[in-house]
Amino acid sequence: MMEVPNDVIKRAAGGDREAFEDIYNLTSSYVYAVAIRVSGNVEDAQEVVQDVFVKVHKNLWKFNFESKLTTWIYRITVNTAVNYYNRTKKRRGHEIGDERILENKGMPANVHAKMEDEDNKRKVELLLQRLNPDQRVCIVLREIEQLSYEEISEVLKVNINTVRTRLKRAREALIKYVSEKEDKDEM
């Protein structure tokens, strides 16, 4: 992931619009990726991205360069996405059915690569649905964003053993789900 240069951060904190747009261009794709996987759908993720960057803009003057800007933005993203997920859980129901996920797609059926990509996205969403928000965030930060245990612990402000335990429990749950699903499909 590309780091944001310090002078860009300083200019953006001083109110420079172009510098803030640079920060958005460098970081919005991973904010969006985390938001989609944590919040569960594209519409909510776009709301999360908006909230995240409004918060980043409002609080950038507080950023003290003790951590990386990306770590700070990940933290805001995760908190915003989890809060959004919890707030909208009742509206969406506790479990999002497989049909709902398919509804969100709208891919061109004639493109094979696109189909594979959509199929893979669907698999990922089905897997993530089986996890609680804490486990989901850890899996997203590790598997998709490729953060180290130390970086995840910094983003979530938990110790490394907690990160390790959440990942282990999440994978145990996913292996169980995959095995049960395969058994069911075979029957």
């Binding site: 300083k10 904190a13 001083g14 109110g15 619009r17 803030f20 747009e21 958005y24 919005s28 794709s29 904010v31 969006y32 990726a33 989609i36 993720a45 776009q46 991205v49 908006q50 960057f53 409004v54 803009h57 409002k58 950038l60 003057w61 990509d117 893979n120 996205k121 698999k123 990922v124 897997l127 899996i139 590790r142 598997e143 998709i144 180290s148 245990y149 390790r164 335990t165 990942l167 282990k168 994978r171 145990e172 996913l174 292996i175 995959v178 095995s179």
Partner: protein
């Protein structure tokens, strides 16, 4: 190593490449000779981890940036990120402090100059008055006004 211990590590540090080399070697040795652990690790890699690794990078649609701009620069947040917020920025803050310090220095040296100038004027005035009063006494008759008090003292 027992299977339970091996699986704990396979599910976290091993697959995430956080395990120390000597631990990895021990796990590798175990997995080579243990079908159960090997099968579990294969499922973990192929069915659980691979879908995440194969995801295409995504970027938010352009409208999202437009909405953010609206909220920040034309919406209610304008006031919040306006002058006061910008003033709070460490960089703007530093500039403001420097400007204030410069103004205070100018004011300080200005008042010192006025004080020195005023004290010189006062000295000049006192000297002039003294010389004037002295000259009054030197009017050719040996000084004084010829009063009885002067005659008594001098």
């Amino acid at each position: 190593m027992k299977c339970d211990e091996v699986r704990e590590i396979l599910l976290s540090d091993y697959i995430d490449e956080e395990a120390a080399p000597e631990i990895r070697d021990r796990i590798n040795d175990h997995v080579k000779g243990c079908n159960g652990c090997r099968e579990m690790y294969d499922v973990l890699c192929e069915k659980v981890s691979a879908p995440f690794k194969n995801l295409e990078p995504t970027t938010p649609p352009f409208e999202v940036w437009k909405k953010i701009e609206e909220k920040i620069y034309t919406g209610r947040e304008v006031g919040a990120v306006g002058f006061l917020t910008r003033l709070k920025s460490p960089f703007v803050y530093r500039k403001t402090v420097l400007a204030l310090a410069s103004v205070m220095l100018v004011v300080f040296f200005g008042t010192q100059y006025v004080k020195v100038r005023d004290s010189n004027l006062t000295k000049e005035y006192v000297t002039e008055q003294f010389e004037y009063l002295t000259s009054l006494g030197n009017n050719g008759n040996g000084g004084g006004f010829g009063t009885s008090i002067e005659e008594y003292f001098f």
